[in-house]
Symmetry: C2
Subunit: 113 residues, 2 copies
């Protein structure tokens, strides 16, 4: 998954060892898993050369990281070297549902956004 951190999310992540993010659309700090219970315990946290990107290696607590019910948000592959981009169809890969989003999020809607 990819998400944004603000200063508070970054501080919470470093001090707690669990993943916190900031929703730019909801303008709200959120702890990963606060609705689903599917939190992320950080195994390793790295920062990139110009220190504006963070890479987290995590132990996913609970079923999956994606709000669609998959283990990962990256469950579709893009076919390469296709001449016609308009006819391009994504291919599902590692796309098995590992939890039922309706049961987990209930009436709370998409808790990830």
């Amino acid at each position: 998954m990819v998400a944004h951190m603000n200063e508070e999310a970054l501080a919470n992540t470093v001090t707690s060892g669990e993943a916190w993010f900031y929703s730019r659309s909801r303008k709200k700090l959120w702890k990963k898993g606060e609705s689903s219970g599917h939190t992320q315990r950080i195994v390793e946290m790295r920062v990139d050369c110009d220190q504006d990107a963070i890479w987290l290696r995590v132990e996913q607590i609970g079923a999956g990281a994606c709000h669609t019910g998959r283990a990962s948000c990256f469950y579709r592959a893009v076919p390469l070297k296709q001449p016609d981009l308009r006819g391009l169809m994504l291919e599902f890969r590692d796309a098995e549902k590992v939890f039922d989003p309706a049961a987990v999020y209930g009436g709370k809607g998409d808790a990830k956004k």
Copy 2:
């Protein structure tokens, strides 16, 4: 590494199978490795659930991906569960230089930006 794509970079990446990006600071399309020769052949390309993030698994052609001379831009780790964030020191990890940026980029400056 993390970088941005615009529509043209995305199209070039899908049709060629090599990584293209768009520099927001230089307002310029760039092919990864156009200065260094360190191109990226894409092994797998995935898109995330809401289709605004792309994950590339690549064969790095040439020495390394980072403009600092490392294999990866993520060569520093953030210590976790530290109470005092101000005293926090990053730890170098997988930080060996695999090429000499001065020799590779010469007078062309930081070709990654």
